[in-house]
Symmetry: C2
Subunit: 608 residues, 2 copies
């Protein structure tokens, strides 16, 4: 060992002891004939004092930032204590110094607030990782990992490794593939998730499986997606939805407790997918704040059974609302006195291409009970009052109204709500609100191919009450315009997402475990019998040998860590992330490979 | 939940309770109007009793092997107790039965001794995994995983995930590569190990890293190799070899304790590589038994300093020994009375192509003190006696002698020793003997290219005393015939292997952490400056910013589990293994992929 103690370990109780430390030079401060050096390692920082008698030594071997030192000295009490750090009551009076390695000047400062830009930090990731801010993230990640493993172990889950070199069965996202040298012309795929393997393990009777495992998706990378990412992947036998919800509420509570020292004792809210879309325009609503949507107008088939309030805005000869499929409103508390500049800015915000609305109407609910609106021309004070009452706006509030096509308008209002929540400080970094979203639709309509696609994945089971509806109907959509009237549009899934502060952190489902139903599902997705056998004969086969009812969930480990760490970016919680082009700029990968390698693999590259 | 208890849980204390179980039908036995069914789940087996009143139910819904049932009934004490299983004192008197899923007849029996051949078992791996024998292996694997993580956590190691999509830097084994769609013409590689990443984490100051991680090597698969395999990968900062040895002795002792309930308290033996080759002809000797080699003759440069015993066999005009580079002998205890048939069989054994010797000489040390030998013609009784004394043979022993080229002869004798150890019952399955092999050569000679290759990997440091020898000499071998006289042939590495019962279970080294030395190493391996920068500029760069001394080790997780489980095959300890052609026969992978996928990746396959 190059050291007897770490740089985070020494306390007043060590005073008088001769000890040896090893670490990195964080700072050097010279005061006359005395030099102070802060020596850093993973565990902390210890102040070193080089007295007069060591001047010669320092002159012979000058120190620099990030030099690696081995130091021996006597622990002394500091006269000028620093109570902000655990080692701040002592210092080390150095008697011997060995420079273990030198450092050239780092390209950016190794501090919490670094002067390094993103590109530089990624190129020198090994230096960026030295910064406390990044180190804390990876420590948090390890704490979540450890906490999850302990909880799952205590609940009888077994970590079972599933293979990485599997078969390509693209459905939804693209697979990364791996050419096989021993089986020329053939390819492995990297798993998008261990989905079918964990189901096979249930068929095999392993009862409770988990894995913290890398998954791969070759997608065009939107901001904050990575081609390789990590899941906490779990599956259980002989369970119904309620069993899964309660088991994994326990997991998340445990992580909060272990990692954030938060007793999340309150009941975890649950909401159907339909209510989430109705109240928040979003299937992963942030419920740390209200400001829910008021649905003034909507297509009758989208929310069967929800009350219409169209009479509040109808017959006003306001073409924007008259022609719109959907009109939604929110009420912003205590914002009635926004200036013209402020309301204009909000209008510009929803007109940005990312949001894509043509405009926005507003109603100011003045503190004196009167109204001022951008649609005064069309709506009487009385009608404005009725709208305000429907939106639950109080005097002093500002009502914002969006109108247009259903999907876009609802999405835009959801975005606007989140933006206002952020601006008004309602999305507090240290507040955590969990939510289950339940009863997702089993299918989504793909208008390009006029067919059904699986909203979750093809292994998700319909609600028991909907199985007959699925089996007994032909999935073919004869009239594309009326796809919403097809029975499949109303089939709900035994699927659930866990949402934390407006982010989906986990999702899962009760699975299909009957061959007949699984075959019907593949057919519903437009797969021919041959194709489904080519891709999934092992799973269909397994279902014939006593497959038990089962279900599971997968948590997005990177995102969970980022949210717990109070960050919007997963990249800061991954030791060696890739950039938005899927490149590792530190390694300079991907890269060309030798012709010899290509020859051995019997492939060649082709220019488009 | 489909059940109130598991099939391994019920005891006499539950008698009288009404409970619900779910599981698989293991056996069905009918006695008159009563039917007994053994119901199985991961946790055990419970006997179900279907009384007379349920006959109709069973007639309506006949049961079969591997059917999945949900059963409700009352726990009763058994009159005929089975004390071999924990639930053997009770049985369940069934009052309600639900068949959750049926099963067709499995292609082999789900029992410890199955009638399924390897191919069938692999195709239906999900059924094979139901067998207790396989389940026990995966449970052991999880126990090793858990034990290792606990020990490493308690010793301040952090699990940090390293990337899977990296850069191809083939050195030794071939890389699996992954074409990049977003960076056409370029490829990622899958890691052969996280070696450089864990070193970067040390440069970043993470101090103690570990990961239980998949690694990939595209090698021609010899028996019991897998293209993807798992390592327990570890690295530490500010350590010397002794620190690593002691830390990981602790890890293995802990695993023995947790997994096998064995207190491995004895000192773990250590042996230099040179002594291992000298005494056992093998760098991973099985030291559960003796029978060590007697080196009668060997090339003077291979073991400098070891005593020659050539005079014992010289000047006998026996051309086989006279012309041989190497003559080695072992003494087999109490085997002097082997028949001609038995000695002939041993001679045939060493003449098999896998061993490749031309023949074998023997000397029988008769119990009466006389000798009988296949080389009587050349050696007098007195000379035979002298040889016997050198080999430490006692009356009643059988001496076996092999002669030939150094490497092949030593290897053959090592194989023969292991074979005899096995035949004589000296390699006991329940005995475990650990050994450190130390001081490996840093380089190996590659006669094809007349150059040096790294014996371990290019990041292993030479012994401190040999650094100067490495830096100050030109690696070029001017005279291939005299490569052993090149200074590089004598450079020893700070490398160590942990050996268990004759298997290498782990290996590691203290690493190079100085740019100059690392560059010299790359040059010594014949890499041009450009090539080393193209492949490893990130690492060479990192060494300029304060790289600390560091070292580590990686354990072969699959093999460690197999040995602890008393098996020679790692395949039985992997949930979904591949066969010797790298195929997953259950998935039927690898497979061809769509032309659309190839087009997107801008690659095509070519026929050889």
């Amino acid at each position: 060992m190059y050291r007897s103690h770490t740089c985070g370990e020494l306390r007043p109780s060590h005073v008088g002891q001769t000890i040896t430390l090893a670490g990195w030079v964080q700072t050097i401060r010279k005061f006359g004939s005395i030099t102070f050096v802060d020596l850093r390692d993973r565990y902390g920082i210890t102040q070193l004092v080089f007295g007069e008698e060591l001047n010669q030594l320092l002159d012979d071997s000058p120190l620099g930032r990030e030099y690696v030192l081995q130091i021996t000295g006597v622990v002394e009490e500091r006269s000028n204590k620093n109570l902000n750090i655990p080692t701040g009551e002592i210092e080390l009076n150095v008697s011997a110094l060995k420079i273990l390695n030198k450092s050239v000047t780092p390209p950016f400062s190794i501090q919490d607030d670094t002067d390094g830009g993103d590109d530089l930090r990624m190129k020198y990731r090994y230096l960026d990782l030295r910064r406390n801010a990044v180190k804390r993230n990876l420590e948090l990640r390890y704490a979540v990992n450890r906490s999850a493993r302990n909880y799952l172990h205590e609940n009888n889950f077994m970590d079972i490794e599933t293979p990485f070199l599997i078969k390509s069965t693209p459905e939804g996202a693209r697979d990364f593939v791996v050419p096989s040298r021993m089986n020329a012309g053939q390819f492995y795929a990297l798993p998008q998730s261990p989905q079918t393997f964990k189901q096979l393990l249930m068929v095999s009777g392993y009862d409770r499986y988990y894995q913290i495992v890398k998954c791969f998706r070759d997608e065009d990378l939107r901001a904050d997606r990575q081609p390789e990412f990590t899941q906490i992947d779990c599956e259980m036998c002989f369970v119904e939805q309620e069993d899964i919800l309660s088991m994994f509420e326990g997991l998340v509570r445990r992580i909060f407790k272990d990692v954030k020292q938060i007793d999340y004792v309150e009941k975890i809210e649950r909401m159907t997918w339909e209510d989430a879309m109705w109240k928040y325009g979003n299937d992963k609503p942030d419920i740390r704040f209200g400001m829910s949507l008021c649905n003034l107008k909507f297509p009758s088939h989208t929310f069967p059974g929800k009350p219409s309030m169209a009479e509040l805005i109808d017959t006003a000869n306001f073409p924007v609302f008259d022609n719109a499929e959907t009109v939604v409103a929110i009420s912003v508390s205590k914002a009635s006195e926004y200036t013209r500049k402020q309301t204009d800015e909000l209008i510009e915000w929803v007109k940005r291409p990312q949001i894509g609305m043509m405009g926005m109407a507003f109603i100011k609910c003045n503190p004196d009970g009167t109204f001022k609106s951008s649609i005064d021309k069309f709506y009487s004070e009385e009608r404005l009052k009725a709208i305000a009452s429907a939106v639950n706006a109080k005097p002093g509030d500002l009502i914002l109204l969006l109108a247009g096509a259903e999907e876009r308008t609802r999405k835009a209002m959801s975005e606007l709500r989140l933006e206002l929540g952020k601006r008004l400080g309602l999305r507090k970094e240290n507040e955590f609100k969990l939510l289950w979203v339940l009863d997702f639709p089993l299918f989504e309509y793909d208008s390009d191919d006029n067919r059904w696609v699986a909203r979750h994945h093809p292994f998700t089971s319909p609600k028991p009450a909907h199985i007959e509806m699925m089996i007994n109907n032909d999935p073919v959509i004869s009239d594309a315009a009326k796809y919403l009237e097809h029975p499949y549009a109303n089939i709900k899934a035994n699927a659930y997402d866990m949402v934390l502060n407006g982010n989906e952190i986990g999702g899962g489902s009760i699975r299909i475990y009957q061959r007949e139903l699984q075959e019907k599902m593949f057919a519903a997705l437009g797969m021919s019998k041959e194709e489904s056998l080519h891709k999934f004969s092992f799973l269909l086969g397994a279902f014939e040998y006593g497959a038990p009812p089962h279900g599971g969930i997968a948590f997005g480990f990177d995102r969970l860590c980022a949210i717990l760490g109070g960050s919007e970016s997963i990249r800061d919680f991954i030791a060696f992330p890739k950039n938005n082009s899927g490149r590792d700029v530190m390694l300079d990968a991907p890269a060309t490979i030798d012709q010899k390698q290509l020859n051995e693999l019997q492939i060649q590259t082709v220019e488009k």
